[in-house]
Structures are given as C-alpha cells and as structure tokens.
C-alpha cells in the first residue's frame, strides 16, 4: 500500500525518495551519491543565488511602506502568521471552555434553564484563509470539470456539435476573470436570494468565476483526445456493434484519459490563478482577500506578509498540480507513460 502511494506520488517520489533508496540498492554507490549530490546541490545553489539577489535588491528600493522586505523579514512574517493562527486557536478553545463552564453552572442551578451555545466569531487566520481558497477553487474546478468533460466528449465524437460550439469556445476562452466577475456578482445577487443562505455570496462569486475560466482547456483537450482515437479501435466498436454508451465508456473515455488530464491540469492551474484575483474583488475570505487587506492596511509589515502569500500561493498551486498527477496515475491504464 505504501509503495503504491509512493509510486503514485510520481514527481515528489522520484525527486525526493528514490535517489536515497538507490544509494542502498544501486550497484554503484559512489556514482549514486554523486548523482544525488548533483540533484540536491544544484537547486540549492540556484536558491541561494536567488535569495542573495533578492536581499541585495530589496534593500535598494524604498516604498511608502518602508524598504522592500528581504528574505529574513518575509520569514519573520511567516512565523508571525503561524503564531497568530495558534494564538487565535487558543482563544477559541478558551472561549468554548468558558461557555461550557457557564452553561454547566447554569444547568446545575436550574436543570430547566435554556442554555445558549454561541459559536466563536474571531477573525479567520492565515491558515483558515488558505483552506478557504483551496475549498473555493476545488468547488469551481469540480463544477467546471463536470460540465467540460461531457461537452468535450460530445465535441470529439460529433463534428456537428464541434462545429456548432467551437466559435463559442474560442470566444469565451480568452476572457479575463476580471471581466466575468461583475457579471457573476450581479447574477448571483439577483438569483441567489435566501433568508438563510447556505453559502456566502462571496464564495459563490469566486467559485463561479473560477468555473467560467476552468471550462475551456478541459473542453478543448478532451475534444482533441476523443477525436484522435485510433480509427481501428472505432472500427472494432463498429464490428462489435457496441451501443453508444458502451463505446463511450469502454473505448472513448479510456483512450482519451491522458489528454483529458492534460486539460484538467491546465484548468486547475488557471483556476488557482483566477481565484486569487476573484477573491480580491469578491472579498471571499481566502488568500486573495488576505493580499488585498494587507495592501489596504499598509503597515510596515504588509509587504512582507504579501510576499508570504505569494510563496504560499505558489506552493499550493504546485501541490494541487501534483495531486492531479497522482489522480491521473491511479486512473490511467498507461502506467508506463511519462507524465510531467
């Protein structure tokens, strides 16, 4: 089971674990160590040069919020943000403890007393904001995939549908999320009217904007994948007189999975970029709002905190992409294919 997981974790596994294993299992240990040193040392040297250039360059520029922060200030703020998160969690725990004690006391005095349980209303911490962002982007991406994959399959199978939809796809594909957002906001406020809303409007606005930008790469790649199925396999399905559904599930989908996933990965990447912009404007309490709030806040720490967000956004984006790779590896039949 663990080996299976490791295998699925293709990129990370190859980069992080396998070289170490090879030192013990490989035939030529000296060479393996040498290779490993190269694999680790080269990126580290590059990172070092980057940090040096950054700290040297940063101190040269004075902004209205003070000097541009270097690596050390950014690190400091990263630790701060984490501390604030822990502090907030302690406050929350303390709040619930107090509430419980108060209620217990009340009940002890009078068993029939009605006790109120209030939830904690502290401000969301940085970690909370990361989760909100991931949750929102996943919602948008999932809705987009559920629409885009079937549409892509239909476009790939039927030249008529493709000819009909292609102009629309080509026109909507390059539209910026910032152009969609106002329209989405207006429509959501008009349509989603409820006294007890299940979702925040800001969450819906951001997720739907992500959906609108995520659709296109998946549709296009799925279409190409379905369209380029081996003609002989289609002939096989004709000779067997497979029903349309059997053909789609047994032949069309399996053979277009690699292209489909290529599209899904591009879509998720775009979705994550779009989300940050959408959150800034829609005020969805995620990383985008964090960046915007810090910018408006304008304290001497703001720039450093925004830079922490930049690195977080990059790291989460990378992890999301790896997640898709793992999913592709576990679904695709072609385990030997090189997936990057």
């Amino acid at each position: 089971m663990t080996t299976q997981i490791l295998k699925n974790f293709s990129g990370l596994h190859n980069i992080l674990i396998e070289p170490f294993l090879r030192i013990f299992t490989g035939p030529n240990k000296a060479e393996e160590i040498n290779k490993l040193m190269k694999a680790i040392v080269t990126p580290l040297v590059a990172l070092g040069i980057f940090l040096l250039l950054w700290s040297a360059g940063a101190s040269q520029i004075k902004t209205s919020l003070g000097a541009v922060p270097g690596p050390s200030q950014v690190w400091e703020q990263a630790v701060n943000l984490l501390d604030e998160h822990k502090e907030e969690r302690q406050k929350e725990a303390a709040f619930y403890e107090r509430q419980e004690k108060r209620n217990a006391k009340k009940l002890a005095a009078n068993p029939d007393a009605t006790v109120k349980i209030r939830s904690y209303t502290g401000k969301p911490t940085y970690i909370d904001q990361i989760w909100t962002s991931i949750y929102t982007v996943m919602t948008g991406f999932l809705i987009a995939s559920l629409i885009a994959i079937p549409v892509g399959i239909l476009c790939g199978l039927s030249p008529l549908i493709y000819t009909a939809l292609n102009p629309l796809i080509q026109i909507f594909k390059p539209v910026s999320p910032l152009a969609w957002l106002p329209i989405v906001m207006m429509i959501v406020s008009a349509v989603y009217v409820s006294d007890d809303p299940m979702f925040d409007k800001s969450y819906l606005n951001s997720a739907i904007t992500v959906t609108l930008c995520c659709l296109w790469p998946t549709i296009i790649n799925t279409t190409v994948g379905v369209n380029s199925i081996d003609k002989d396999l289609i002939n096989v399905s004709k000779v067997l007189r497979l029903t349309w559904l059997t053909k789609v599930f047994k032949i069309v989908i399996p053979s277009s999975i690699p292209m489909m996933f290529a599209g899904l990965r591009v879509s998720l990447g775009i979705g994550w970029m779009v989300l940050i912009a959408a959150e800034m404007l829609a005020q969805n309490p995620g990383l985008g709002k964090f960046v915007w709030d810090e910018f408006q806040n304008g304290s001497s720490n703001s720039l450093a905190r925004i830079m922490v967000a930049v690195f977080t956004i990059g790291l989460v984006g990378f992890l999301l992409d790896r997640l898709m790779l793992m999913l592709q590896k576990s679904i695709s039949w072609d385990k030997s294919a090189v997936i990057r």
Binding site: N235, V236, V239, L242, P254, S255, D334
Partner: protein
Amino acid sequence: MDSYLELSHVTIDFPTPNGPFRALDKIKLSIDQGEFISLIGHSGCGKSTVLNIIAGLHQATEGGVILNGKEVSEPGPDRAVVFQNHSLLPWMTAYENVELAVKQVFKGKKKKEEMKEWIEHNLELVHMSHAMDKRPDELSGGMKQRVGIARALSMEPKVMLMDEPFGALDALTRAHMQDSLMEIQTELNNTVIMITHDVDEAVLLSDRIVMMTNGPAATIGEILKVDLERPRDRLALAEVPEYNHYRAEVVRFLHERYKNPESEQETDSGSNSETATASAEKPATQNKQENEEDTPVLYAVND
C-alpha cells in the same frame, strides 16, 4: 446464387476534389462455406477496400455483398475482422478484450460461467491461456495478434476477415502463426478471407488465391485453386512440385502480367524468387505508393 458469400459486381467510387475515383470495378466472387481465400495484389490495388466492404465498414457504390442469403449493409460480429495492427484495447487484459466481444455477441444467450468457459476456450485455441491477464503492452507482437484472432473466433463469425494479419510480424513468428492458424482451421473449418502480400503464405494457407489487378478500377485478374492436400506442412511442401508450380503462378501474375506500377522501368521482372521476396517485404517505394493510392480512401473516411 446459392454460394455462402457472394460478391456481385462490387464497385466503389471515392469522391475526390477531381471527381470520383473508381477504386474497385465489378468484383465478382463466390465463396463456399469453410473455404480459405487469400486476396493478393500489389499495394494500393484495393484489397483492403474489398475486405472493408465485406465487413460493412465501406459501402459499395454499385453491386453488393450477400452473406448466407442476406445483404450486408453495416458492420456486425458475424463478419469478425482481424486487423493488421491487432487493435486490442490497450487498457484491457487479453481476457477482457475477448470478454468485450463475447459479452456483446452472446448477451442473453450464454450464462456467466458459459461465457467464461468460452473466453478461456478461445484463448486456449490460440495458445494464450498462460497470458490471459496480461495487457497488450506486456505481450509480443505475435501474442497480440493471437489475442486478436481469439477475439475474432470468439464471436463465432460466419466469415472471418483478416487484413494482413501477420504483415507486421518477423518471418519466424509469422511462420509460427501460420501453422497455428492452419491448426485452428482444421478444427473449426471457418470461412476465411485473408489479405496478404506474401506469396508463400497465400499458397500455404489457401484453398483459392484471388489475384487482383492494379488500380485504379482494380478487379479480379485471376483465381488460382490450390489443390494441395491438408494438413499441409511447410517443410514437406518445399519439395513438392505442385507447390512450386502454384507459387510460380502467383509470382508470374504479380510480376509479369500485372507488374508493380512503381517498378515499370525495371527491365528484369521475371518470376525469379528474389523479386517475389522483395515484393513480399514491401520495399520503401511500394509503401510510398500505397500511401498515395490510399489518399482517396482516407479522404472518404474523413468525410
């Protein structure tokens, strides 16, 4: 008109930007049940098109195909096809590939256990029982083709259509596959139509060899009845004068009467065996020509 499979005046035109291109012209052929027929001819003469029309993948412009009293109008499992490049579904094991066909053909006719038995029986027939759970990418070229044949056999077809089934295999594997095919043929006595480029293969396997003229408007040039006793053994046959006579007949047709249009300029095109092997192995020029001649076919498919 009481033959098992009847091709009557089959003609096909492919639309091209320069007007229709006549690939086949009035093909007439009657085939009896249990007969093994080879179609031989130079590349691009429309052998595959004949096979595709029988399979129902192409529609004849004029004339038609009658199988067991019924006209063929669309593809179906009663005319199983073995494709040159095996065409197994790469994400399924050998067993699952055959299962897909069996489930489709015998849905409601066989019980679950019967189907399982039938799938295993067919894989056994092609000597693939040991690799049932392997996927195509884990099998050699010959093994993949065996599974392809098992899949075709499992449909219990009225006619089995083979499009250069061993063309992509090396010579030794090919000989092995031919022996296997003969063995299966003795047991099941299927009606088979096979396209081949290989003169020896045609003589060794067939009851009749159908030789096609060069395209465009290709048609049947000559039909050679191969009266060699079965079971046939390739080693013993090499010494038999009749075998060499049949072989020479085919070679003469291909290299004297209907020369390869690409090699017209060659002065020496006699019936020596070297030329025969050369044509069997499809030299590069021939491949090129095949592609050119195939263009209208592809065009029609894309349309």
